[in-house]
């Protein structure tokens, strides 16, 4: 048996009091696809950063191809044949593919010879692995999926034998993800070793040979993928049994709550983000908006939440018009009208990270008379309210005096959810409710959304996670390039069908 491509022995790393990695040992055979799963903060990223030389481990050894290889910096990692494809691409948008690939690996002061050499090599690499990327295309003109392939090419050009991919499918449509997995399969066949970090259990099941589960800085299990199941992995990740499927009763839609007609948004650069969108949501109904990020879903939430003005169109709530263009179009007015908003990015929008939990519980509702005491704010009333909400929404630790940034992602989201849902809004806007949230909290948040629907409220759910859309929605609309490219009922559709709509294949083209 040959030496494993990667062998980690007893890796430990602490950040102050936080033990991010605890005595981790891992062995990956050459030519295997190895998955690493774990909740946020389980230590996956830290471990990979140690392997790639961003962090230095406090203890432990790294062995590459049977040789002990210290990796003090990323140059050493590259020399050892390790390449990393980051979740957020590190590409120069206005450079061509070749220029991006040679960036940092130029042969000399003059660019031309390197470019010529690289182009030749790239064409060979593309053929070899079926990457289908034009070396002279400018990166900003490429789709996200192709940009990711440029990242992979960059690593191959640097002769990486071990590829680490960090959450590679977060930005891809389902079909782009399938193509990525085919490429990974080719790479594997050519003898490359691949480490895939993801939180999507289905991907693990589909493409990996072996999988390791991390929990609270420890490697809790390493198993052959064929010998496990999504439920089994989830249990290993969380440490208890979890419900992956959302349980819900059939919807009983009532009267129309939200009526959106011909909504248009042109942003400050003149780009039309929403192109005449129309839809309705009824009481007791969840409308799910699917789509690849950046196709107008954010703008839709922001207009309805009063964060940006619409260019034209009309919106009514319970038949009463809502000002979407003028002076009354702001978050305060929306909240007074009974619209709650769980924003897409809790860290930038939904919470003030240095504010303590109690201050965040009042955020957006700080005009509420019950939070006032004369001209001052009634801080003790807010703290009491916060403590009570933390109790009911299971926020851990239940300490109102802790700044928001010190809570885990899931508990931060629970604070937002508690604030926005506890007032029983007639309409709840929810953006990416479970992004970066651990499985246990996902289950909780999904239950809350269903409960609100069952209480007869309208919910607009925007998510890039198709599982979530399919599991929660009573109706599904797909957005592509600022329009609704199709509507489906969850029982009449599947990921493939939605994936086509997400890629902009409209019904007519699909039929032709």
């Amino acid at each position: 048996m040959t030496a494993p491509a990667i062998e980690l022995k007893g890796i430990s790393k602490a950040f102050g009091p936080v033990q991010a990695n605890k005595d981790i040992s891992l062995s990956v055979q050459k030519g295997a696809i190895h998955g690493i799963v774990g909740e946020n903060g389980a230590g996956k990223s830290t471990l990979m950063s140690i392997l790639y030389g961003f962090y230095k481990a406090d203890a432990g050894e790294i062995w590459i191809n049977g040789q002990q290889t210290p990796i003090p910096d990323s140059q050493a990692a590259i020399r050892a044949g390790i390449g990393m494809v980051h979740q957020h691409f590190k590409l120069v948008e206005n450079f061509t593919v070749v220029e991006n690939v040679i960036l940092g690996a130029e042969d000399g002061a003059l660019i031309r010879p390197s470019v010529a050499k690289a182009r030749k090599l790239l064409i060979e690499l593309e053929k070899e692995y079926g990457l289908e990327v034009n070396p002279d295309a400018v990166v900003e003109d490429l789709s996200v999926g192709h940009q990711q392939r440029v990242e992979i090419l960059k690593q191959l050009y640097r002769q990486a034998d071990i590829l680490i991919l960090d959450e590679p499918t977060g930005v891809l449509t389902p079909s782009e993800a399938d193509q990525l997995f085919r490429i990974l399969g080719r790479l594997k066949d050519e003898g490359k070793t691949i480490i895939l970090i993801t939180h999507k259990l289905r991907e693990i099941m589909d493409v990996t040979d072996t999988v390791s589960v991390m929990r609270r800085g420890e490697m809790t299990a390493t198993v052959k993928t064929a010998e496990t199941s999504p439920a089994g992995l989830a249990e290993l990740m969380v440490g208890r049994k979890v419900l992956l499927e959302v349980e819900k009763k059939a919807a009983t839609p009532g009267e129309v709550v939200l009526d959106v007609k011909d909504l248009r948004v042109v942003d400050s650069t003149g780009v039309e983000r929403l192109k005449s969108i129309s839809f309705q949501i009824r009481a007791g109904e969840i409308l799910g908006i699917a789509g690849v990020a950046g196709n107008g879903q954010s703008e839709l939430l922001e207009v309805l939440g009063g964060m940006i003005p619409a260019t034209s169109g009309s919106v009514t709530l319970h038949g009463q018009p809502i000002d979407i263009t003028g002076r009354e179009s702001d978050g305060q007015s929306r909240r007074r009208r009974g619209i709650g908003h769980v924003p897409e990015d809790r860290q930038v929008e939904g919470l003030i990270m240095p504010y303590e939990a109690w201050e965040n519980v009042a955020f957006g509702y700080h005009h509420d008379p019950k939070y006032q005491a004369g001209i001052l704010m009634n801080n003790s009333a807010i703290k009491a309210d916060c403590a009570e909400k933390m109790e009911r929404y299971d926020v851990r630790p239940p300490n109102p005096r802790l700044p928001a940034r010190n809570f885990s992602g899931g508990n931060q989201q629970k604070i937002v959810v508690a604030r926005e849902m506890d007032r029983h809004p007639d309409l709840l806007l929810v953006g990416q409710p479970t992004r970066g949230v651990d499985i246990g909290a996902i289950e909780f948040i999904h239950k809350q959304i269903i409960a609100l629907r069952d209480a007869g409220k309208a919910v607009l759910l925007v998510s890039v996670e198709l599982d979530e859309i399919l599991g929660l929605s009573d109706r599904i609309a797909v957005m592509f390039d600022g329009v609704i490219s199709g509507e489906r009922l969850p029982e009449d559709t599947n990921e493939g069908d939605l994936g086509l709509l997400m890629a902009g294949v409209t019904e007519r083209q699909g039929a032709a």
Binding site: G16, Q19, P343, V348, G350, F363, M377
Partner: protein
């Protein structure tokens, strides 16, 4: 987890910074052949060794509290108001107009009237850059510093052409009438040894009240909550329905008003007339005071006291040690600003590491 306990952030780090600054200053003093220990003794004795010294130290402190609070309030809305100099100058104009043209029956009424005028004029001078920032995105640092120059030119023009006393060579207003004269420390604290010549006056208490008012505003009112939220994240503020335009305007108006209020101390309280360039850099010292005081009123108060002592002690040092010139004093003050303001991270990062390593490992 926060990296350090709060007391370390608020007290320990500024203290270490000041000590480093004093060490560096000592090296400079030694370099020109004087004894650093002796220089230190003269400075401390000059600032705190007598009622005379205290009178000047607290007088300067009063100025720096106003300008420091001004910068601090703007900081909370993440704006860098470096126009305190100009806003204070305009505050002086407000005080002069109020004091010269209204026959005040009693100093207390005059103090109220002049405080309002100083605040209004200072706020008005901050309003234009604030509006340009809020509506046009013109950077507040650029506009406020330009407004310092405009204020300076405006005051020269007014003092030379409008307010100058007929036949006088000095570009200053006439002396204010008796009814506006504020009680000096010799009146209300004569038992502590303050002489009638001391510049310290009742506006010191206005400054202390301003500290309390700013604390209440920032940490206890809805407006302060909105200002801080906006300062931390504009996107989140918009999400919560807090208007960036409104907060930018209000925070800058309050900031300008506080800077303007410095005039009741220097113009009404001490000079009893408006003289040219009366601010003398206090607007800029306010930046250092706010930085060192972590934009907290208590911190501002302590930092203002430190800079007041540096000013007064520095003046004594210049007098007592002829080898140390006026420029040397400026160097020492600059070193304190450099270490407490600009080089904050130099002390902070090693301290954070130290505190992290001291903390017990949690499982």
């Amino acid at each position: 987890m926060d990296k350090m306990p709060k007391w370390a952030d608020v007290i320990l780090i500024p203290l270490i910074s000041v000590l480093l600054a004093l060490l560096a200053s000592g090296a400079v003093v030694a370099f020109i052949g004087e004894s650093p220990v002796e220089a230190m003794r003269i400075m401390i004795d000059g600032a705190f060794g007598s009622a005379y010294g205290w009178g000047y130290t607290l007088f300067y402190t009063t100025n720096f509290i106003f300008t420091g609070l001004a910068v601090a309030v703007a900081f909370h809305a993440r704006m860098f108001n470096i126009g305190g100099e100009g806003q204070a100058a305009l505050g002086g104009l407000g005080v002069a107009i109020m004091a010269l043209y209204i026959p005040w029956p009693h100093w207390s009424l005059a103090l109220i009237g002049c405080t309002i005028a100083a605040a209004l004029f200072g706020a008005a001078w901050a309003a234009i850059p604030a509006y340009l920032q809020a509506k046009r995105g013109s950077h507040i640092v650029i506009t406020t510093i330009m407004f310092n120059f405009i204020a300076s030119a405006l005051l020269v023009y007014l003092l030379v052409n409008v307010f100058r006393v007929e036949g006088s060579m000095a570009p200053e207003t006439a002396r204010f009438a008796e009814g506006t004269h504020l009680p000096s420390a010799s009146t209300f604290a004569g038992f502590l040894g303050f002489r009638p010549s001391t510049p310290l006056n009742v506006s010191f208490f206005v400054a202390l009240a301003a500290c309390v008012a700013v604390w209440l505003l920032i940490w206890r009112t809805r407006l302060g909550y909105e200002i801080r939220a906006f300062g931390h994240s504009e996107t989140a503020a918009v999400y919560a329905g807090i208007s960036p335009v409104k907060i930018t305007m209000i925070a800058m108006l309050i900031s300008g008003a506080l800077a303007g209020m410095m005039a009741i101390n220097s113009v009404q309280g001490e000079a009893e007339r408006l003289v040219i360039d009366y601010v003398q850099g206090a607007g800029f010292v306010g930046i250092a005071v706010a930085l060192m005081g972590r934009s907290h009123p208590v911190g501002v108060l302590l930092a203002a006291l430190l800079f007041g002592a540096l000013y007064q002690g520095g003046a004594e040092l210049e007098f007592e040690m002829p080898a140390i010139s006026r420029e040397m004093i400026v160097v020492i003050q600059a070193l304190v600003i450099l270490f407490t303001g600009a080089l904050d991270n130099m002390v902070r990062m090693p301290m954070e590491k130290l505190f992290l390593s001291l903390r017990p490992r949690s499982e």
